[in-house]
C-alpha cells in the first residue's frame, strides 16, 4: 500500500450514470489487475474504494457508477484537481491459473477491472472471452473496447435493450472455458459459481472502514475462516468461498 496524491487528468461520462477518471501519479504499488484504490472525497469521512480499471507507469484509471453522495461528488471533479489516494490495495486476479481459454464475466460496476485483466491475459497469449451484463443499453460500456482487442464479447441487459435479455449468465456458456474470472453484484457471483464447471476467481465487495486491513470491517467467512476483503481479497478463489 502506498499513500499518494493523484492528479485528475480527465473525468468523463462514458455511459448513463457512469464515469471514468484518469489519474496521473505514482502507480508503483499496483501489481495485479483486480486491486483497488481508496479515494478521499472531501467532505465525506470515509474513503471510497474503486477497482483499478487500467494502469501503466504514471497513469491509472477507474470507472465508477454514481450511486450515492460520494460518487455524485466525484462526478463533479474537474481536470487538474488533486486527490489523496491509498494505492495498490488488496490481492488481485491471478493470471497464471487461467488455462488457454478463460472466461471473464462482469456485471455493471464490476466490469472495469476486467479490462486490465483481459489485456494481461492477451499479452500472455491466452484467448479470453468476455461476457458482460448491464441494466440497459444506456448503461453499457466497454463492449466495443473489448471487441477492439479482438476478444469475443457477449452482452445481456436486464431490459433486453441490448444483447440477450436477462442476466449475464443468459448470454454466455460456462462449459467451454478453462477458468473464469467474475466481478459484479453478489447475486451474479453466486449464480456464476453455481453454474461453473471450471475453477475460477471472483472479486467481492464489502463496505470498508479503512481498505488496508486495520478495522476488520470488511470480513467474509471463507473455508479457511474469516478473511478481510480488503487485504486477503477482494479476489478469492471459487473454492474458498462459503455462500
Amino acid at each position: 500500500m502506498k499513500q499518494c496524491v493523484y492528479l485528475i487528468e480527465e473525468n468523463e461520462q462514458i455511459a448513463q450514470n457512469t464515469y471514468r477518471i484518469v489519474f496521473s501519479g505514482d502507480t508503483s504499488a499496483f501489481t495485479a489487475p483486480g486491486q483497488f484504490l481508496n479515494l478521499e472525497v472531501s467532505g465525506l469521512y470515509l474513503r471510497r474504494p474503486f477497482s483499478v480499471c487500467e494502469w501503466e507507469k504514471g497513469h491509472v484509471s477507474i470507472v465508477y457508477k454514481v450511486v450515492g453522495a460520494g460518487t455524485q461528488k466525484m462526478s463533479t471533479f474537474k481536470r487538474g484537481r488533486e486527490v489523496d489516494v491509498l494505492t495498490g490495495l488488496g490481492k488481485g486476479f491471478d493470471t497464471e491459473n487461467s488455462g488457454p481459454r478463460p472466461l471473464l464475466i462482469g456485471g455493471g460496476a464490476g466490469v472495469p477491472p476486467l479490462m486490465m485483466l483481459c489485456k494481461m491475459l492477451l499479452a500472455q497469449k491466452k484467448q479470453p472471452t468476455v461476457a458482460v451484463g448491464f441494466g440497459s443499453a444506456g448503461e453499457a460500456f466497454f463492449q466495443d473496447a473489448f471487441r477492439n482487442l479482438g476478444v469475443p464479447v457477449s452482452i445481456a441487459t436486464m431490459d433486453g435493450s441490448l444483447g440477450a435479455k436477462g442476466m449475464v449468465l443468459d448470454a454466455c456458456r460456462m462449459d467451454a472455458c478453462t477458468y473464469f474470472y467474475a466481478c459484479g453484484p453478489i447475486a451474479m457471483l453466486k449464480a456464476v459459481c453455481a453454474a461453473s464447471c471450471s475453477d475460477g476467481q471472483v472479486s467481492l465487495e464489502e463496505r470498508m472502514g479503512c481498505g488496508f486491513g486495520a478495522c476488520m470491517g470488511c470480513t467474509v467467512i471463507t473455508q479457511r475462516g474469516p478473511k478481510r476483503v480488503c487485504t486477503e481479497g477482494p479476489v478469492f478463489d471459487k473454492g474458498e468461498l462459503v455462500w
Binding site: 500500500m1 499513500q3 478521499e40 465525506l44 469521512y45 470515509l46 474513503r47 491509498l86 464489502e206 463496505r207 470498508m208 472502514g209 479503512c210 488496508f212 486491513g213 486495520a214 478495522c215 476488520m216 470491517g217 470488511c218 470480513t219 467474509v220 467467512i221 475462516g225 474469516p226 487485504t231
Partner: protein, 303 residues
C-alpha cells in the same frame, strides 16, 4: 526543546499518543508503513478468551464527521494472540503495548488477565467493559457501577500489571462508574468507547448495519469525549486516557487540558494510516504555539 514524555500508570512513554484498540489491528499493517516505535504505545485489537468471527456484514456505516462500526470483536482468541501476535509484535515494536480484553463473564475477564500477566511486552491491560457491538458481553458490564466493579475486582486479583478500565459513554452518570472501578483497584481509566448509534438506508428502508446498531466514532464524538474526561477528572484520582475523535495535535492538547494524561487515536488511523505519526510530529509546534514547554504541566489545566 519541549517535553512530550508522560508517565501512564508507572510506565514511561515518549509521548502521550496511543493508537486505539480496533483501529490498529496488532500493529503489523502499520509497521509496514512507518516505524511505529514513534508511538506512545498502541492498544491491540480487543481480545476474548475464544476466537470470534464477529458480526455479519455490513459492519461499517458513515455519518457526518464520523463512522459507525459493528465489527463485534472479531479476534483470534487470547491463546493465538499470545502465541502468534505478541511474538510478531516483538519484532517491530520495542515498547510496552496495551492489551485490550473483553469477556462474556467476570471469570472470562479474569482468565484472560491471568494469561496476559506473564507476557513481558504487555505493559497495561485495558479492560473493555464498553463494546456496544456484542450482545451479553462488553457493554453489559460497563453500564452499571456494580458490574463494572465486579469485573475490575476480578481482573485486579488476576494480574499485577497496570489495569486500565475502558468506560462506555452510553451511561447516565459516567463518574459513578469511574469511581466504582477506581475503588476496586483500577490503576487508570480510558474513555470513551463508541456511542451507540444507527443509520437507515432510504432505498431499502432498512438499517445499513446488519447488526442494526453500531458504535459511533470519529470527530463527531470529540466534544462528548472531552466533556466526559473533564467530568471524570473531577471525580477520581487515577490517570485518564482520553479517547474519541482525536485527529490533530490540538485535539491532544485540548484533551490533556480537560484532564487526560495520555490519549488514544482511533478512527483517524482508518482514513489516514499515518494519523498517529502525523499528530506526534505536529505536537512540538502545536505546543510552541500555545507556549507549552512540558505536556505534564497541561494535564487537567482547565479545572
Amino acid at each position: 526543546m519541549v517535553n512530550m514524555a508522560v508517565i501512564l500508570c508507572g510506565i514511561a512513554m515518549p509521548n502521550p499518543v496511543i493508537a486505539a484498540s480496533g483501529t490498529f489491528g496488532f500493529g503489523e499493517d502499520f509497521a509496514r508503513l512507518y516505524d511505529i516505535n514513534c508511538l506512545g504505545s498502541f492498544s491491540m485489537k480487543g481480545t476474548t478468551l475464544s476466537a470470534r468471527e464477529g458480526n455479519p456484514t455490513p459492519r461499517i456505516a458513515e455519518c457526518a464527521s464520523g463512522m459507525l462500526n459493528a465489527v463485534g470483536l472479531q479476534n483470534p482468541g487470547i491463546d493465538k494472540v499470545i502465541s502468534e501476535e505478541l511474538p510478531k509484535i516483538g519484532e517491530f515494536y520495542h515498547r510496552p503495548v496495551m492489551a485490550n480484553v473483553s469477556g462474556f463473564s467476570v471469570d472470562e475477564y479474569a482468565e484472560i488477565c491471568r494469561r496476559l500477566d506473564g507476557q513481558a511486552q504487555v505493559g497495561w491491560i485495558e479492560l473493555n467493559i464498553s463494546c456496544p457491538n456484542v450482545h451479553g458481553g462488553g457493554l453489559a458490564f460497563g453500564t452499571s457501577p456494580h458490574s463494572a466493579a465486579q469485573v475490575t475486582r476480578a481482573a485486579r486479583r488476576a494480574t499485577v500489571k497496570p489495569l486500565i478500565v475502558k468506560l462506555s459513554p452510553n451511561v447516565t452518570d459516567i463518574v459513578e462508574v469511574a469511581r466504582a472501578c477506581e475503588a476496586e483497584g483500577a490503576d487508570g481509566l480510558s474513555l470513551i468507547n463508541t456511542l451507540l448509534g444507527m443509520r437507515l438506508d432510504l432505498k431499502t428502508r432498512r438499517p445499513v448495519l446488519r447488526n442494526i446498531t453500531g458504535g459511533l466514532s470519529g470527530p463527531a464524538v470529540f466534544p462528548v469525549a472531552l466533556r466526559m474526561i473533564y467530568q471524570v477528572y473531577q471525580g477520581v484520582r487515577v490517570p485518564l486516557v482520553g479517547i474519541g475523535g482525536i485527529s490533530s495535535a490540538k485535539d491532544v492538547l485540548e484533551m490533556m487540558l480537560a484532564g487526560a494524561t495520555a490519549v488514544q487515536v482511533g478512527s483517524a488511523n482508518l482514513v489516514n494510516p499515518y494519523a498517529c505519526r502525523d499528530i506526534i510530529k505536529a505536537l512540538p509546534d502545536a505546543m510552541a504555539d500555545y507556549g507549552i514547554k512540558n505536556l505534564n504541566d497541561l494535564i487537567g489545566g482547565a479545572h
